[in-house]
Subunit: 248 residues, 3 copies
């Protein structure tokens, strides 16, 4: 039988034991799970960064993969726990908008997680990653139907994603914008960010000499501002959330 795939995305970091406690709970329920870390380096409480990372990752995972995302400043309050079914996969986490980019892209159904039979007891007020999300996800990965986990809801929290902006700065200093290649239509792929106009476009990174800024279609279809072997983000001095614009 195929081994169930379960991914984790959190703002817990890798120095503490929190991620491993989630994995222990998962393996107690789904001993054959293939657990994959997407990232645990989401900035603390940065819901939009979590939303970006899971939306870029899920398309590369097989059918029935279960994705747990825990960026959860409201843990223990009345915010709901949810499971989203989309693209033949499952997404489990807090109802705070962290699945907005998945929901914007894919037809989906949302459920509020409510069946305490599938929780890890006692349920703490400070660590639902371990006590709610991980066990619910492991049960789904083991074949429990989402319908048994909770009831359908029509109003999962969704972030406004419409403003053209910097989605992410990656390790190399590439500036990932929310502009997609098709957004440009017939225009050249030039952009303005802060006081910088980028009016060169490349197909691969080593096409320009080190030091020159250019736009490039990144590996997820977004337009990125990059530099060959250098950090475009440092050069431009920008951060996630900053405005970007087409150059007309």
């Amino acid at each position: 039988m195929a081994r169930p795939v379960l991914t984790l995305t959190t703002d817990f970091g890798l120095a503490d034991h929190y991620v491993s406690a989630m994995k222990g709970v998962i393996l107690g329920i789904a001993p054959n799970a293939q657990i994959v870390d997407i990232s645990h380096e989401v900035r603390p409480f940065a819901i939009e960064q979590g939303a970006y990372l899971i939306a870029q990752s899920f398309p590369y995972f097989p059918k029935n993969a279960v994705h747990v995302v825990v960026v959860d400043p409201g843990v223990g309050s009345s915010r709901r726990a949810i499971v989203i079914e989309a693209a033949g996969q499952y997404f489990v986490g807090p109802d705070n908008g962290v699945f907005s980019m998945v929901m914007a892209r894919e037809r989906h159904r949302a459920r509020a997680i409510s069946n305490e039979k599938y929780f890890h007891h006692p349920v703490s007020r400070t660590f639902h990653g371990r006590d709610v999300f991980a066990p619910a996800a492991a049960h789904i990965a083991s074949g429990v139907s989402a319908a048994r986990i909770g009831r359908l809801i029509s109003d999962p929290v969704s972030l406004d994603l419409s403003r053209p902006r910097v989605l992410h700065i990656d390790r190399f200093g590439n500036i990932v914008t929310s502009l997609r290649a098709q957004d440009f239509g017939a225009r050249p792929r030039f952009v303005q960010i802060k006081s910088t106009r980028v009016t060169s476009a490349a197909v691969h990174y080593s096409e320009f000499d080190p030091g020159a800024l250019f736009t490039i279609e990144g590996s997820s279809g977004y337009i990125e501002i990059s530099m060959n072997q250098g950090s475009a983000a440092e050069r431009v001095g920008c951060h996630a959330g900053d405005d970007v614009n087409f150059v007309p």
Copy 2:
């Protein structure tokens, strides 16, 4: 057959190849092992931090899990290698106190690892994680009885854990103290740390406005000093090992 679960906790970091060499050795002996990283970001040589992390993690792992902990400034000297049996699980590492918090909490048996048949040869003088602990643990995970690994001992090294103190600062800046909820009896859960008195108590993190300090029962049952979406440790200016006290 259930796949054996084997965890790793070290001060090796993730930039070097040391952790992966241990994993290669493990998979050569126990090809079906589920290997889980607890943390490799223990501060170099910080035995007490390793002791804290493994003690917080093991309760969430299934029966027969084998935990390898390598924080080992005395590697290659005459310090013993040990395996502890406790709570239906196994703990493998140097005999330097790194299992003190597990042993203080659980009935246990300790053995000195001596059977070189279960080592990876040649055995270096600088990397027993790879050559002694990982292979011994993988053999136990594969079904070799601990009794074949080494003889019972009655005097494993144990750290003094009695002083009320800061156990750990986590990624969010939560200050985890060694005080437990039940330590407070009927008193309110207020504490003094450095020059700061914390005289508010919360049930979940978002109960207070950002910026206010409060105590809270953390996910492992310890009292923590926390702040909603901010670092209590930075505010207070404290470190692991600092004194804490009840507020009378």
Copy 3:
């Protein structure tokens, strides 16, 4: 059946989703793979550091392990993708010298990866880790013969490795040199680095008092310059690539 072992070494870091996209692609092709991270903290574009890490790791992995290494400043340009067969294992990555230390040590065959049937489509110009190397490696791990992946070549890129130098600084500040114990013959194992002469030699780390520099045979057979519970690299002020010399 034994589960195929597949390792990953990249300069992608762990904060972004790039490594997980590779893992998703791998699990879609080889659902039972045991995936092991060697390191994702290679300095961006540091081919020689990648070459060092994979060469130190592979000897501890079982036969038929498949190693993917992606340190790839030339992605999307005309540089070739290759698979090396050596030591009963496979090495998949860009043809830029990243396998030089493996090839220098082991008899090997090299092939240029060309069969697009084994790629992930569409193939981007910026992320061959996900679209070329990961899927080719997963197919090999699943039993596809290397011969079906591409044709033999006789000229894989090889770095000049002959100069005595600092190979690596590890997390503890140990300075790993390219000198091997056998390089010293009958001479004492003393070395000169920058303005420092190290004329003490140890067998294990805690043999000298904290603060003293000594040489020691490291866990991979290289001579290292170390300090008990301190950073030799900080003391000496050196970096990867610096010259080292025998003390005559």
